[in-house]
Symmetry: C2
Subunit: 441 residues, 2 copies
């Protein structure tokens, strides 16, 4: 049997399991999560052993210069990290079940009632990088939302992923749901998923931008994700410098490799020469490499800073590094147009004391997250109070921004009647539709 | 300039206009719809003239056998039909504005509040067939939901579409929104849309199954639609024959070419020999060509009916014609599995007096619309009370089943603060997030 057949089998089995999983009640789903947690506790030594195999190999790769030190660190499952897995499972168990919510209900005629109920999407494929704890996190989110899931983790974490997957499967077997979680291991396997659009309903890639883009370009299956995070901060003519300067520094420096870190700073021309010196100093002190438009460069020059010219490609670049491009604009309109053109519709923020300008910016910037007087770094499912984050999406359909459990469900219409015929409700003596709203309980 | 450039221009201009349109208030949007209605009234003669040009050409094509008579009939804009356009515009103006709804709101800290607000998707391309009134219908739905729209109508309706488009544009020009509605005319233009994934956010095809499938396979842009409507009716062991037989006939005969018409009839083996004679008679009297499984054929034989064998491909076929395939199943489980495997996840119904079986069916069948004791013909936006129907979707993300105006919107997160920094909410002395729910007004 070829590799592709195997992936097809995994996908089709997951689909079958998804139909059963969709109808399992909240109590049972939470029980499964608790039992996975117990399994992990019982097998801490085994998990540590398997993880050590990955770590040994990774250490060799670091010594050979093939793997970076931070990647190695993310791979290590310390005792604390293993305990954290249990906390995570318990937390997801505590979250509200997103399945079975009545969203809409009307009476069409006496005893003839329609309702729209949230239900799982079906089968989700989640592709992620080296941290093995993600196996537990995404399994918890998928099971809680009633979705079967196919996991593809980083190959560096192969042994760790396998043992965690085995423990999950041991629990699921007791519920006749062993196929509800699948594990695949190679990039070839991922390519094999792309054609499984009958079985797989959604792909959630949590990895590098290039990889997300590659997936989006190679499958008909909907992809929930973001291929880049080019976030802007616009310092308005009427901004409070005491707010603006710290927010610029926080947006860029708090976690430069995050997708919600600042990439392009826009400054109104009327305040540029006044505010730039402090900003240039703060960023330079923090070793940020600065690029700028012509105007920015000449102001910077008068203060002894030499900036490189930001080229067209720079404005469209997510550096996820200590690099920032600065542009001076003549109006809020120019700022909004620039953001809508060059941004990635992820997170953009305005700093201003003028509430009208703020509201204009909030309504006109076409991004998942639009902020007023705060750092771009706040766009995050945990910060937003969504309980858990499946990922961040820059899609314009289904889910946008930080996606919580409610991004893992869709809905179905249920209509209950008593032998009603469509023909009775049309033509000359048509029975009318009542369309009386019914309570959503 | 090449053809492709022109399409790109239309798409990019629509994108620009969509940013303005997104922020136009409900009153102004309704005013635009009323003014289009007035324009139509003022230009009834002109519309009739242009329509006559299409009709003349179409009549020649009917005479030559290139076009079918029903298609010609759908093309004709009678005086009544033109009046109906105004009714339609007024009705859409009366619908609730789906934009600007607060869906979620939490206080993160004092004076630091997050909300999630519905907003338009952006630019929608709607592709439809010959009926020229669809130009007005989809324009009304798009403008009301704040979306720019690119229309592609049937080439048979070229002159009618153009005059309606011109009247719309004349109104939009007064609001600096002329580019918010675009018209394209050829299949080549449609192919040109496929690559405009930066400007176009959603494609809604309302046409033949093959065409929908072709679009889905040739673009990265999300497609809202259904490539087929293979609907099932399952007559359970405990069904009431007085309900079952009329529902079978209504599901098949009320409007055989509709996507929610019955294609596959499943009957429990314990009642098959009792109920089949009446069903076979009713369907045969209505000239329905019948296909069956082996068991169905032998029962039919004993009653003097000769059925063809339904092959694998027949169970997967949407005939949209007077053809029906009948299968005898041994249990509700087999029925559900069959529907989930062979169906198109559109509309499926069970006939039973056993409420437990009904609920099992409703929860286990993975379709957009799942019914109990009613005809499959009820899945429709108007019937469901959605006000207007954008289309019917068998997607598993964003919108499913009949899609109303709320399928034309997405949302954005707005966060308003006072200079908050992410760093203040993390680390040792982290300020905690409150996550206090706020009223949705």
């Amino acid at each position: 049997m070829s590799q592709i057949d195997t992936i097809q089998e995994i996908a089709e089995k997951a689909k079958k399991a998804s139909f059963r999983l969709a109808n399992i009640d909240t109590i049972t789903k939470n029980q499964i999560l608790h039992k996975i947690s117990q399994k992990i506790t019982q097998n801490k030594d085994k998990i540590a052993e398997e993880n050590q195999l990955d770590v040994n190999l990774a250490e060799k790769m670091v010594a050979e210069g093939i793997l970076s030190k931070p990647l190695l660190n993310r791979l290590i499952l310390t005792n604390d990290k293993i305990d954290q897995l249990n906390v995570y499972l318990e937390n997801v168990a505590d979250l509200d079940d997103p399945v079975g919510k009545k969203q809409f209900a009307v009476k069409l005629a006496e005893g003839f009632e329609l309702e729209r109920i949230s239900c799982p999407i079906g089968v989700v494929a989640i592709i992620f990088e080296s941290r093995p704890e993600v196996v537990i996190q995404v399994t918890a989110l998928s099971l809680k939302s009633g979705n079967a899931v196919i996991l593809k983790g980083g190959s560096e974490a192969k042994h760790s992923n396998r043992i965690l997957f085995q423990l999950i499967t041991q629990v699921l077997e007791k519920y006749d749901l062993a196929d509800a979680v699948g594990l695949i291991e190679t990039r070839e396997d991922v390519a094999g998923l792309f054609g499984q659009d009958k079985a797989i309903d959604l792909i959630i890639p949590r990895g590098s931008n290039e990889f997300v883009k590659f997936i989006q370009e190679n499958t008909k299956i909907p992809v929930l994700g973001h291929s880049s995070g080019i976030c802007h901060l616009y310092l308005d003519r009427e901004c409070d410098f005491q707010k603006a300067i710290p927010v610029v520094l926080d947006s860029k420096l708090d976690y430069p490799s995050a997708c919600n870190a600042l990439e392009n700073l826009l400054i109104h021309q009327d305040i540029a020469s006044k505010i730039l010196p402090d900003i240039l100093k703060g960023l330079t002190d923090a070793n940020v490499k600065l690029l700028g438009c012509g105007q920015t460069i000449s102001i910077a020059n008068t203060h002894g800073y030499n900036l490189e010219t930001a080229k067209e490609k720079d404005w469209k670049m997510e550096y996820t590094d200590l690099i920032l491009s600065i542009k001076i604009v003549s109006s809020i309109d120019e700022a909004v147009d620039f953001i809508n053109t060059y941004g990635s519709h992820h997170t953009d923020s305005i700093i201003t004391e003028n509430l009208q300008s703020a509201e204009q910016f909030l309504s006109r910037v076409d991004s998942a997250c639009v902020f007023h007087n705060v750092s771009t770094r706040f766009s995050d499912g945990y910060v937003f109070g969504l309980g858990a984050e499946v990922g961040i999406s820059t899609n314009k359909t289904h889910s946008r921004g930080p996606v919580g459990l409610d991004g893992m469900v869709i809905y179905k219409y249920l209509l209950r009647g008593n032998g009603e015929l469509r023909a009775s409700f049309s033509g000359k003596n048509a029975q009318p539709f009542l369309h009386t709203p019914l309570p959503l309980d």
